[in-house]
């Protein structure tokens, strides 16, 4: 009975919202600028030099509450360090140590005092860019997660100091997870003798990804950054797994990869390049999987919220909210699942590399 009620509510709300929306669209376009969900979503999942908290008002009266973040640029042998707020509100030009920088669609370019921009034939900006080491939103989000991780796990570690006792509080919450990662992922994939060497890295990766995924799901400040959906981050993690895997690779692992013993010669010609490519596709898959899953989750939730603004109707709100809640619950699972998968596959790759089986 409840199910039918829900479906009825959904259907009626969709019906009303569509009919209202079609009435409104014609005159709405004239008064206010059209809402572009793509731009909004891309803006939200991209990194930023400013931490936007909330804004209200329209047009010239729009007010933004945002934290300007530190900009660190390396350009022609000089380090420039200033806040985002130094970029002019209208011209987007900032001056530092005699150099001029232009903030253009999330990127910083070298320019002159007039803010000159040159475009190439394809329409891209052809100005040179300084190397941007700015502490952008994702960096602060990561540092927040790191502070949380250190706080949580130092507290957990502290509660073990008084000898064996019944776990309580944060310890009781984290202990099953720690044991799960240590026993069912690390020891299972790598083996008991060598597990202790890799457990710290894998535990750190698991909780780092998980906490950052969770922070990304918080829809308001200081959460909401698409940190683990950023390719720079997943690349760093995947490269670390790649390095750890191959630095600790045993003799038999390299033999299997480079020589492929016991395989006929003509198969070797095919197999060895495949194996060598495989070395790189494994971390590449790790990188893309995490990035795509987390970014997709953010995009879906933002799209559902955007429905209200696309259809310009408050009647769609229940649908948006309901679907967003369902997606958020799903994303809570995905946050843990992706951390698990990344850790499991990392452990699997390391386990395959370190075991010395003689055939």
């Amino acid at each position: 009975m409840n199910k039918f009620l829900w479906i009825l509510v959904l259907l009626t709300s969709i019906f009303f919202s569509t009919s209202y929306a079609s009435n409104d669209v014609s005159n709405a376009d004239k008064t206010e600028e059209a809402f572009d969900p793509t731009e909004m979503i891309m803006h939200h999942i991209a990194d930023a030099h400013v931490w936007h908290i909330v804004s209200w008002g329209e047009g010239d009266h729009q007010t933004h509450i945002q934290i300007p973040l530190p900009i660190i640029l390396y350009d022609k042998g000089k380090v420039h360090f200033f806040l985002y707020s130094r970029f002019d509100h209208d011209t987007h030009i900032a001056e530092s140590k005699g150099s001029y920088f232009l903030y253009h669609h999330g990127k910083i370019f070298n320019t002159d005092s007039t803010g000159n921009i040159e475009y190439n034939e394809e329409g891209h900006v052809s100005n040179t860019s300084p190397i941007d080491f700015s502490l952008k939103r994702n960096v602060w989000s990561m540092w927040l997660s790191i502070a949380l991780l250190i706080w949580i796990f130092l507290a957990v570690a502290k509660s073990y100091k008084n000898g064996p006792a019944k776990p309580k509080g944060i310890q009781a919450l984290m202990e099953p997870l720690i044991q799960f990662v240590n026993d069912d992922i690390v020891k299972m994939q790598i083996g008991d003798e060598k597990a202790h060497k890799f457990a710290p890295y894998l535990l750190t990766v698991f909780f780092f990804i998980w906490i950052n995924n969770m922070l990304g799901l918080i829809p308001f400040f200081p959460g909401g950054s698409n940190f683990t959906g950023n390719i720079s981050v997943t690349m760093v993690l995947a490269v670390l797994t790649f390095l750890i895997t191959n630095i600790n690779g045993s003799r038999s692992y390299w033999q299997h990869t480079l020589v492929a013993p016991g395989v006929p010669f003509f198969v070797k010609i095919l197999l060895i390049p495949v194996e060598i490519v495989g070395l790189f596709t494994k971390p590449f898959a790790l990188m893309i999987r995490l990035l795509a899953n987390i970014t997709a989750g953010h995009i879906i939730i933002l799209s559902l919220v955007s429905l209200v603004f696309i259809l310009k109707s408050v009647y769609i709100a229940p649908v948006s909210i309901l679907l967003s809640i369902i997606m958020l619950v799903l994303e809570l699972l995905v946050a843990l699942l992706q951390a698990y998968i990344f850790t499991l596959l990392s452990a699997l790759f390391i386990g395959m590399a370190v075991q010395d089986v003689e055939h």
Partner: protein, 165 residues
């Protein structure tokens, strides 16, 4: 849109530095003590379980030993009772036979004494009879000494009439 798949050198740099620092800090101050404590605890639990198992076995063993001891004690008691009963019977029997023998002996002795007394009495009697006879004979002799034949006949007659026993 290209930002999605273009790594940002700044973020790569900060992520690498921060993540490695995080891993080092957590390894030293969190994972090492936590994993150590978990190991210690699981070993403690295992040892405690084994100790409990041993204690249980010991208790079972004690119960068995106690049962055995009780059985032995009961058997001993039964045996003792049996022995005692046999001893009692034996003593009673011995007492009975001893008493019988003693009484037989006393009766025999009494009988022998009676016999002896009787014999003595008979002897005495014979002696008295003899003396009496002599007295009678003296008297007769005195009375009928004159007639030898008569005297003799009388004596014979007396002697014949005297019945011993």
């Amino acid at each position: 849109m290209d930002f999605l798949l273009t790594p940002d050198p700044g973020l790569v740099f900060w992520t690498t530095v921060s993540f490695i620092l995080l891993a080092v800090i957590l390894k030293k101050y969190a994972w090492a003590p936590i994993l150590h404590a978990l190991n210690v605890r699981s070993e403690t639990i295992e040892q405690s379980l084994q100790a409990a198992e041993r204690a249980k076995a010991e208790v079972e063993n004690l119960v068995k030993v106690r049962q055995e001891m009780m059985d032995i004690a009961r058997n001993e008691r039964d045996e003792l009772l049996k022995e005692t009963r046999e001893l009692k019977d034996k003593i009673l029997m011995e007492a009975r036979t001893g008493a019988t023998r003693e009484s037989d002996k006393i009766i025999n002795m009494a009988r022998k004494q009676i016999e002896a007394e009787k014999n003595t009495a008979i002897k005495e009697l014979k002696k008295q009879v003899a003396e009496l006879s002599i007295d009678i004979a003296g008297l007769l002799i005195q009375a009928e000494l004159k007639e030898d034949k008569k005297q003799k006949a009388i004596i014979d007659k007396y002697l014949e009439n005297v019945n011993f026993n």
